[in-house]
Amino acid sequence: MKQFKGRVIVPGTCRAEALVSHGGFNTLASFQMALMFGDKQVKCGDQNNPDIYKKPMLGKALCLPMTIGSTTGGMVLYTACAIGKQPACMLFSKPIDSLAASGAILGDVWTDASMPVVDSLGDEFLDYVQTGMTVTIGEDGIVTVE
């Protein structure tokens, strides 16, 4: 078990199974097919991301360095939140990027969805956490990986 301290972007608590992307998470490429065709598990559609391609994202603690790609990214995340297809939380090793921040904030302000977001957890976080581990975000924003 290890704990990591980051910065809370969207507050909230959460306990979920980790899904880890070591490369940049391409939001559009990851979500577009699943949202368009109602994939209940919201499987990742990004063929360029071998870590998580075809793996379910719904309800997972998505651990990533940052998001990349199209500027529809925030809109895609907002849509996922609005229809209840979002990850349980998003945990960034780096400072959050503008597209992910947009999506997380739009989801927080304009929907009832819960998707806590913590950034700046450090490279060590992404080195330690592995897909399938359990991740908990506490009241204080501290992330526990076990």
Partner: protein, 426 residues
């Protein structure tokens, strides 16, 4: 963040609950990046990335209905990304059903929303809004609230405007409020380079391949590129701008680049030179072997990797008029060499309606059509989103299209050979 009394009043609900939520969104957005204030948008027009009436994003249209119902429209007119459907582009009966009955069922309704929110005019659907023919071309130093990764990186890098990589919806909220949080690429510090790219290729590198390599390496950081002047020169002429358009789109889609500097060419690099490079910047050397390695790393996701191409897309981002002319000459020459009259693979050239109109005025459009090329204003990415395309062997020289779809990437030279029937190509 310190707000002006007027901005604070908006946040407190003086202009209604919906405007308060718009401002709250922008304040949270700025807070996430340590913005200390809001700055007014100074560009004449905005640009939105959301141009499609896609059933799957109904919540977006619901949100826009809230804005319209509250009387909130964009304070500035705006252009939009390309339309997702064009009858000129070949599609099967089944694909047409998927496009019209399942995917883009909300297109007409959404375009009505855009009219209410403030789109410039009915033909202004393109990702290359900054081209002269379209006319949404910001001035150097203008503050923008745009989204569309390829347009943002072009506006920042080639035009010297200031815009963050805003998301769809956020860009419209900036235009509605009239201000955006000041952080990142809106600041002098945020525009400094943290990577130096040394291009040491023997020949002019393919724009979309070079951009891909840089994007994947630097991700969201700012690169300062050396060594391109020997091919691009030191003036931003039509040819250089077209190259940088495609280069930038690849850096933005294969990574998350919002600004690059080209030594001796782009405005800030010309003015400030290496003073733009931050101390301790990392170095990435790119030679021909590195580009070969990058290209070989692209996954091929066709069902049958040996399939003959069924369709080719050229123009993501949309082609400039110069590029259409150049392709026309090159195809004509290749077909003449091979004793052919028309191309051998169905090929779609995509460009903005305004550029197509210019091409129609001269001989280029007619000549391209006589060679068998289809000309369209469509967004090829939105066409390829059709799941039936996964079974379709589509080729492209766009690294953006490759990244988001099952289209297979070839260099422009390879595409030229394939579509003009060179023996040994498929």
């Amino acid at each position: 963040m310190k707000l002006t009394p007027e901005q604070q009043a908006m946040l407190d609900g003086a202009q209604g609950e919906t405007m308060a939520k718009v401002v709250k969104t922008l304040v949270m957005y700025g807070d996430a990046f340590g913005a200390e204030r809001m700055v007014p948008i100074t560009s004449k027009c905005g640009h939105t990335v959301i141009s499609f009436g896609l059933k799957a994003i109904q919540p977006v249209y619901d949100l826009y209905d809230q804005l319209i119902a509250a009387g909130l429209t964009s304070g500035q007119k705006f252009t939009a990304d390309p339309r997702p459907i064009d009858p000129a582009v070949p599609s099967s009966l089944l694909e047409d059903i998927v496009f019209k009955k399942i995917m883009y069922t909300h297109q007409e309704k959404y375009e009505q929303q855009l009219k209410k929110l403030g789109i410039t005019k009915d033909e202004d659907y393109t990702c290359t809004c900054y081209l002269d023919q379209v006319g949404n071309k910001p001035e150097k130093g203008d503050v923008l609230s745009w989204a569309e990764s390829s347009a943002v990186v072009y506006a920042n890098s080639v035009l010297g405007a200031r815009c963050n990589r805003n998301s769809g919806i956020i860009e419209l909220m900036g235009s509605v409020a009239g201000f955006v949080p000041e952080f990142g690429l809106l600041t002098d510090e945020g525009r400094k380079a943290t990577w130096v790219i040394e291009v040491k290729c023997k020949e002019k590198p393919e724009a979309q391949l070079l951009g891909s390599a840089i994007g994947m390496k630097v991700m969201e950081e700012v690169p300062y590129v050396k060594g391109l002047d020997q091919w691009l020169g030191t003036e931003l002429n039509e040819e250089a701008c077209s190259y940088l358009k495609d280069f930038g789109a690849a850096t933005a889609s294969n990574g998350a680049v919002g600004l690059y500097h080209i030594e001796g060419l782009t405005p800030e690099a010309k003015e400030q030179g290496e003073a733009l490079i931050k101390e301790g910047a990392q170095v990435y050397v790119i030679d021909d072997e590195e580009l070969t390695r990058v290209k070989a790393s692209y996954p091929i996701v066709w069902k049958n990797p040996d399939a003959a191409p069924a369709l080719c897309f050229v123009g993501c981002p949309h082609l400039s008029l110069t590029q259409m002319e150049d392709w026309c000459e090159r195809i004509t020459e290749k077909l003449r060499e091979r004793g052919l009259q028309r191309i051998t693979v169905p090929t779609v050239f995509t460009a903005s309606p305004a550029v197509i109109r210019e091409a129609e005025k001269g001989t280029i459009a007619a000549r391209l059509r006589s060679l068998g090329v289809i000309i369209s204003y469509i967004c090829p990415l939105m066409y390829m989103n059709n799941p039936l395309c996964k079974k379709k062997p589509v080729i492209t020289c766009s690294n953006k299209l490759r990244t988001y779809t099952s289209a297979r990437f070839y260099t422009e030279g390879e595409i030229l050979d394939i579509i003009t029937g060179k023996e040994g190509t498929k």
